[in-house]
Amino acid sequence: MSRFNYPNLGFGVGLRHQHFNYVLDNRPRVDWFEIISENFIDSRGWPRHVLARVAEQYPVVMHGVSMSVGSADPLDFGYLTRLKHLAREIGARWVSDHLCWTGILGRNTHDLLPIPLNEEALKHVVRRVRTIQDFLERPLVMENPSSYLSFASDTMREWEFLNALAEEADCGLLLDVNNVYVSSVNHGFDPLEYIESLPHERVVQIHVAGHTHCGTHIVDTHDGPVMRGVWELYRLACRHHDGVSTLLEWDSSLPEFPVLHAEVLKAKDYLTADSSPPESESLEHVAAGCSARASRHALAGAHPPHSSLPEYV
């Protein structure tokens, strides 16, 4: 068992609509699935039906993108009510979201926007995480986001903020090692110091993902294999754990399910053997996505699969 008595689920992947039929038909030997909560909480059709069937056969974790924990807007208790209901319905092992805000004045940008890293923002986020945990009646698991700007009003480093948040709000952490890598380049900090400084006893889950190098910055695109530098951070992070649930995020240019599954199983290989990622993967993925940064998990699974094309009589 791991933090908050949350178990080590092994090596999982995101449940995406492109793979619904494959998963139902083939029952792949993946350890667990993570869902984007917002793509299911209002569904009364095929996605919810598929999720119910998947949850009967696999552990499922709910990962959200719209809690907007850092926003100055009031918390959306209608949203939280639906989240709580779904978590109970599918027996979600835990519920996570991001250290960010997504909108204000009633709007939702559908992006994970950075908050100022200072005492005042910390107080605000701690208070809201506590409120959310009380409402959901379970610990919340907070993920470090990737970010592309810093505020002049920042007074602490992100890992210091996360340490304080986890301690004061008594919440769990989802360590996204790809986000650490991305932000370390964008902000010029040492990713090793970030990883080493986290309260490892609170890390419930790890994310790995692919990213895109744009020359002047790196974008968290989730559109390809995990890069070598990220795997190395992953291996470093795992030195602090007996075993922690690991999930591969891949949302754009999504490959067939076996390719996705094989990618996350590399994590197991890197941990159980003394193998290194092949050199070919050390090349940063450089793509046209730099100007768009559109294909992130906020969009994942929002649309129906081709297999559900309407029939016409």
Partner: protein, 295 residues
């Protein structure tokens, strides 16, 4: 719990976030966003003093760092609308589609926690902003009808796909309906399925949409009065063409009024009134297609 009084480095958190949102969602980009009244009402910085709020990195200025968020905001939402409305995208082409979609997003920015509601008001927006919206109906051009109807069809398809359905429930059977005598049929109170959507179109937009979704590149069709039912069966969205009479009869079903009253109600607009035996045949057919929750 509104924390407008919470100060973050001299700027209240709400003001800072309101400023950043105004800047990155401005259709003219970061420069125009910083100079916009919506942003300056919250934080009165200009392009020169921007870095007192957002600091530069070793490779990017503060404005360039904000621009990453600005570009992605618009790109993400446009991508989402393209994927949800592929037939409209095909009909308009990328340039015009983006123009229409960005205008819509500017007037109706997303407020829901899910992108599934992103285009909820797009049909209404297109209808209100059509170039001849002030003209008499008889003097209007017809191509905007095609655009509005196509969006209505595509959006309904997505809503039927993920909305309430009848899967797993006991439904009226065709055999059961056929066993009823005609008097019982006329006294029945059919209730439409929650997933049933009925449309009276001036263009056959349903066929156009399906062709695009099959990967074809259909031309814009000629106007042709078309009645369509969209419903869901075993989680699959199904589309059926109806006659004008069938459309009128189905439209009158509400689960409250007896079928004979519904027929009386439509009698003035649908002539000749269909015979009861015909109605029974229709009910059998509609029950088998999942149009009806109860009869």
């Amino acid at each position: 719990m509104n924390l407008d009084d919470e100060s973050v480095g001299g700027i209240e958190l709400g003001r800072l976030q309101g400023w950043m949102q105004a800047v990155i969602t401005h259709p003219g980009g970061v420069g125009a966003g910083v100079a916009s009244p919506a942003a300056r009402r919250r934080v009165a910085v200009d392009a020169k003093s921007l870095e007192t709020i957002v600091i530069p990195s070793e490779t990017l200025t503060g404005a360039e760092r904000l621009a990453i968020y600005s570009r992605s905001y618009h790109a993400r939402l446009l991508q989402c609308m393209r994927e949800m409305l592929p037939a409209l995208y095909h009909a308009l082409g990328e340039g015009l589609f983006n123009l229409f979609a960005l205008d819509y997003l500017q007037h109706h920015p997303p407020r829901s926690y899910t992108l599934d509601n992103l285009a909820d008001r797009f049909v209404q927006h297109l209808a209100e902003t059509r170039p001849d919206s002030n003209a008499l109906p008889s003097e209007r051009e017809s191509w905007p009808d095609f655009i509005v109807e196509l969006v209505a069809m595509e959006w309904a398809f997505l809503k039927v796909y993920d909305g309430d359905g009848l899967e797993g429930r006991a439904l009226p059977s065709a055999a059961g309906i056929r066993a009823l005598d005609l008097e019982r049929i006329l006294e029945s109170r059919p209730a439409p399925a929650p997933c049933l959507r009925l449309f009276a179109f001036r263009y056959p937009v349903h066929a156009y949409m399906l062709a695009v979704r099959r990967g074809e590149r259909p031309p814009i069709p000629a106007p042709s009065e078309t009645f369509v039912a969209a419903t869901r069966s075993d989680f699959r969205v199904m589309l059926y063409e109806l006659s004008a009479q069938q459309y009128a009869v189905l439209k009158a079903f509400d689960g409250q009024h007896a079928l004979k009253d519904a027929l009386d109600q439509i009698g003035s607009v649908s002539s000749p009134r269909p015979h009861a035996a015909t109605i029974r045949d229709w009910l059998c057919d509609w029950a088998s297609k999942g149009f009806l929750e109860t009869v």
